[in-house]
């Protein structure tokens, strides 16, 4: 149990948090201290006062935490806690990447958390392109793996313990996390574009440890409370959904927009769903893989276009323009393919917008057509003030992407998950880090 300093004393919020933490711990706590103990000042008063009175039968049943706090504050009784096992705090299995293909499962110490942070028992973590790239190539965008790193950033879980100044959460709350924490003091943070913060902390990206472990700690203001009807697996995919939502906002997609999405990756499919939610009336999705296109089709794309490897630019442009009935207001480039970039200026209306969501490994050549026709080219970096909106889209039923999750694996089977991801068969893979998880339906194929 943490030491009580003079300043914490019998602060009601502190006791609420500490006592509620203790309820979930797998230990029995009794208040017995040496007589000359200078610590636990507030609790010592409880003992002293109870000595003065005649022997009181300590109350064992508390209806709720508030009652317990009130009784402790009034020094009426000596609280006793029954053993209660909710979380196994001695098991913090984590997936740690040591080098290319060298992903090891090892026990790590339970993370420490500060007064405004919460300790989360992770439930689901989505495997993202970044994680796959780190395992196979040790690098992604401009992040390079130097030291052993716990991967994973698309996470949801249950709050296990709370810091003493946390006000928004209690143990037992179901949450999803926003994995980027800005510095809060630079110009970009203050102007509301904290995704551009140069000192941003991104968990799961070197050198910051991620969420692929049984427990991790996170600041309370970057956690979101999940409504009852939003499942943990949907919540784990809030991260790519927030990227898609940010991309749609950057593109200015609104009611009546015509949209072309190049690339039916998870981000592409989620962008399609977000564009629909924003009011877009005609959405085309293109890709080189037919099974991904099939997924986009079942999830509601107005039209899908299969791009053959040998397809010529003008032929592909003609096909897209026919399917759309003209040029698009917004083109979301989610594939990184040079062909998609080349034709994006042709398929976008003058005055329209091209949004570059996925970085192209081949560099980006800007068509002079974009300059002559005032087509804006806008980049997307993560997300910024989008998480709550993304959660609302799921919670209000405007979006349902659970059919995008094709594979589920336990944390101990993560290498199997990676091998499947490498083959390109899967669309989205979820790793279940809760040791008590049992697959409820056979999704893996």
């Amino acid at each position: 149990m943490a030491l009580l300093t003079k300043s914490t004393r019998l602060n009601k919020l502190y006791w609420k948090n500490v006592l509620s933490n203790l309820l979930f711990r797998n230990i029995r706590v009794t208040f017995s201290f040496p007589r000359n103990s200078l610590h636990y000042g507030g609790v010592r008063q409880i003992i002293e006062k109870s000595k003065d009175k005649k022997k009181i039968e300590p109350k064992r049943n508390f209806n709720n935490i508030e009652e317990m706090v009130i009784l402790a504050e009034n020094n009426d009784v000596l609280p006793r806690f029954e053993e209660k096992a909710s979380f196994n705090f001695s098991d913090n299995l984590s997936a740690v990447l040591y080098g290319i293909g060298d992903l090891r499962l090892e026990q790590r110490p339970l993370p420490k958390y500060s007064e405004k942070e919460v300790l989360i028992a992770t439930e689901c973590v989505g495997l993202s392109k970044a994680d796959i790239n780190f395992i196979s190539k040790r690098e992604y965008k401009n992040y390079v793996l130097e030291k052993p790193l716990i991967l994973g950033h698309e996470a949801s879980g249950t709050v296990a313990e709370v810091g003493c100044k946390v006000t928004k959460f209690r143990p037992g709350d179901r949450v999803a996390i926003e994995p980027t924490i800005p510095c809060r003091i630079c110009e970009w943070c203050k102007k509301g574009r904290f995704n551009l913060c140069p000192d941003i902390y991104f968990c799961g990206m070197p050198p910051s440890n991620g969420t692929l472990s049984r427990f991790f700690a996170w600041p309370e203001d970057f956690c979101l409370k999940l409504p009852h009807h939003v499942g943990f697996d949907e919540a784990a995919l809030l991260e790519p959904l927030a990227v898609a939502h940010h991309a749609c906002k950057r593109g200015g997609i609104t009611v009546g927009s015509k949209v072309v999405i190049c690339g039916s990756s998870p981000i592409g499919i989620l962008s399609m769903l977000c564009a629909k939610a924003c009011g877009a009336t005609n959405i085309i999705v293109t890709d080189t893989k037919s099974d991904r296109l099939r997924c986009a089709n079942t999830m509601g794309a107005n039209n899908i276009i299969f791009v053959k490897k040998s397809a010529k630019d003008d032929h592909l442009t003609k096909e897209i323009l026919e399917a759309l009935g003209g040029q698009a207001h917004v083109c979301l480039e989610c594939s990184g393919s040079p062909q998609a970039l080349r034709i994006s200026a042709e398929i976008t209306k003058p005055g329209g917008t091209i949004v570059l969501v996925t970085p192209s490994p081949f560099g980006t050549a800007i068509q002079t057509k974009c300059l002559e026709e005032e087509i804006d080219i806008r980049g997307v970096l993560n997300y910024c003030n989008n998480y709550q909106n993304a959660l609302d889209l799921i919670a209000t039923g405007r979006l349902d992407f659970t059919s995008m999750i094709t594979h589920d694996y336990k944390l101990t089977d993560i290498m199997q998950a990676y091998n499947v991801a490498k083959t390109g068969r899967a669309i989205k893979i979820l790793i279940h880090t809760n040791p008590k998880w049992i697959p409820s339906r056979r999704r893996n194929y």
Partner: protein
């Protein structure tokens, strides 16, 4: 090493008309703060209002509170994490620090933060003292050509800058400023800096309009207190030659706000900066059918660097606004001058550094 300073004379407001100078311990900066030797602190209408009425709206002076928030100082100590400032730097102090965690702060509108900690707004202490600590990222280093007096004036100037941003003032804008007090004058200066083609400023006091003319107003209009609204609006439009595209009320008077809404061109913006009665009767139908947007202004947000740039590059000259200078020991006299407006007072400055000559 020089002996540690011990004199931290502080101006503390105990109650209505009860402002006392007393010694307080010198604060220590935490890791993200700087310790400042205060140099110049300006008196704002809100400081005078707290002195005279003991409250502004829901903010009530319940316990003794240090007054003053328009300030500049010299850095004498830095916290561990502070990298962009060092002892000896002269800075302007942005008095309001948001919580940095709520949605308002994260969305870039920290002026609307509900947990905002603003100097001299109860219960937060102000900075009219010899020494003061503040968050380092809300202290802006003054270049050599900007004086400490101008640094203190960045606070009202930021209000003017924020108001012009809210109004969308740009090249081609025709601006009506109602009220030529300190806020009206900084709004006038900002509007010209933002590129407005014509600015007209109105007031009921002649000498204020003379200052406005010196500061670059294209037209000035003296209004009699009993003039009818239609007459005022007609005179404004006659002087400008057209309807204004942006109207900025800097007085808070009901007539002024009514004129701001009715005089603005269709599709324009009426910006309300001055704080008056909480309930007013306004011609909203006029705003509705002509699509005139009505936008409020509360302090400023991310405007201090802009205001500093304007002063440093000479686009805006705030020196004519400084009319009176007092030593810190004469704080009560300074507040008297500001309250009564004696000697055509616009901005009264108090010098908190005893070693610096007035």
């Amino acid at each position: 090493m020089a002996p540690l300073p011990t004199d931290n004379l502080t101006a503390v407001l105990y109650g209505i008309n009860d402002l006392r100078l007393e010694q307080r311990p010198i604060p220590k900066p935490n890791d993200d703060q700087v310790l400042l030797q205060m140099e110049v602190v300006g008196i704002c209408g809100s400081d005078v209002h707290y002195l005279v009425h003991g409250r502004i709206g829901p903010f009530v002076v319940e316990k003794p509170m240090v007054i003053g928030h328009e300030a500049s100082g010299t850095v004498v100590g830095v916290g561990k994490n502070v990298k962009h400032l060092k002892p000896g730097d002269r800075v302007a102090i942005e008095p309001g620090e948001g919580c940095r965690k709520c949605n308002y702060c994260k969305e870039g509108r920290y002026n609307l933060c509900l947990e905002m900690s603003f100097c001299a707004t109860p219960p937060v202490d102000g900075n009219l003292s010899r020494y003061y600590v503040h968050a380092a990222d809300f202290c802006f280093k003054l270049p050599d050509n900007v004086s400490l007096e101008e640094g203190a004036l960045l606070e009202p100037l930021s209000v003017g800058v924020h108001a012009c941003k809210r109004g969308g003032v740009t090249t081609g804008s025709v601006v009506l400023v109602l009220g030529a007090g300190p806020i009206g004058l900084v709004t006038l200066l900002s509007a010209k800096a933002f590129g407005a083609s014509k600015v007209i400023i109105t007031d009921i006091v002649e000498n204020r309009l003379e200052t406005a003319k010196k500061l670059g107003a294209d037209h000035t209009l003296l209004i009699q207190p009993n003039d009818k609204e239609e007459v005022i609006i007609k005179r404004i439009i006659d002087a400008l030659g057209c309807e204004p595209t942006v109207s900025m009320d800097c007085s808070g008077a009901e007539t002024s706000v009514r004129v701001a809404i009715q005089a603005t061109r269709s599709g324009g913006v009426a910006v309300l900066i001055g704080m008056g009665k909480s309930e007013m009767t306004l011609p909203l139908a006029s705003a509705l059918i002509r699509e005139v947007d009505i936008r409020g202004v509360f302090r400023y947000v991310n405007d201090y660097p802009t205001a500093l740039d304007l002063v440093a590059t000479g686009k805006v000259n705030v020196k004519p606004l400084i009319t009176h200078n007092y030593k810190m020991e004469d704080t009560l006299k300074a507040f008297d001058t500001s309250r009564t407006g004696a000697g055509n007072a616009i901005k009264v400055l108090i010098h908190a550094n005893p070693n610096r000559k007035l």
